[in-house]
């Protein structure tokens, strides 16, 4: 069980890094590498999308290998993260739409918020059961 968990964790790390790397290529490649070639850009975005799907599958495998307490910790953290992402995301969007904030509401800010929220909640929930 431990070996399988380590293998699943390793696979998730590999696919996450490859997703981030292909995201960087798809984001900066058109400007700095292939001079806005439409076919290459579409290819880079497709490769990134496929890597994203593989990352999700790896995450699902890891999740299914968790024991009951780990699953509870992650489910509680995911539920709160999802709720906060919707509420904070829509409030953030409203602030932009009503011009209360001077800059555009970027999706990347929401992604960072989701990531940090999940990290903090998993840490807090893990401590709760220790």
């Amino acid at each position: 069980m431990k070996i399988e968990r380590k293998k699943n964790l390793y696979n998730l790390a590999v696919w996450t890094w490859s997703w981030v790397a292909t995201m960087a290529i798809a984001a900066f490649g058109p400007k700095y590498i292939w001079d806005d070639h439409a076919v290459l850009t579409a290819l880079a975005v497709s490769v990134n999308f496929v890597h994203g799907i593989l990352m999700i599958i790896a995450n699902r495998r890891l999740f299914n290998n968790f024991d009951e307490l780990q699953r509870k910790i992650h489910l509680e953290s995911l539920a709160l993260t999802l709720g906060l992402a919707v509420v904070v995301g829509l409030s953030y969007s409203l602030l932009d739409a009503t011009n209360i904030i001077a800059y555009d509401a970027e999706i990347s800010n929401l992604v960072i918020f989701i990531g940090l929220t999940y990290l903090v909640l998993v840490t807090l929930n893990t401590r709760r059961y220790t």
């Binding site: 069980m1 009951e68 307490l69 709760r128 059961y129």
Partner: protein
């Protein structure tokens, strides 16, 4: 839910890690069950009961809040 897991584990000279490996859960889960912060699932309770050759109700005691 109260339980006698820590006492039984000591009687059998198992560490939390040993018990976790036998039952097929993490050490953290065994620790949380012993501290009564987490109630095990039915399959885990049955595995513990089988390992210590005791009925579930003599290991785990349900207390109405």
């Amino acid at each position: 839910m109260k339980n006698r897991l820590k006492v039984l584990r000591a009687e059998y000279n198992y560490t939390q890690e040993d018990l976790a490996d036998i039952i097929g859960v993490s050490r953290q889960t065994i620790n949380a069950i012993e501290k009564e912060k987490f109630d095990p699932s039915l399959p885990t309770a049955f595995r513990i009961s089988k390992l210590f050759k005791l009925p579930i109700e003599t290991i785990f005691h349900f207390e109405e809040l």
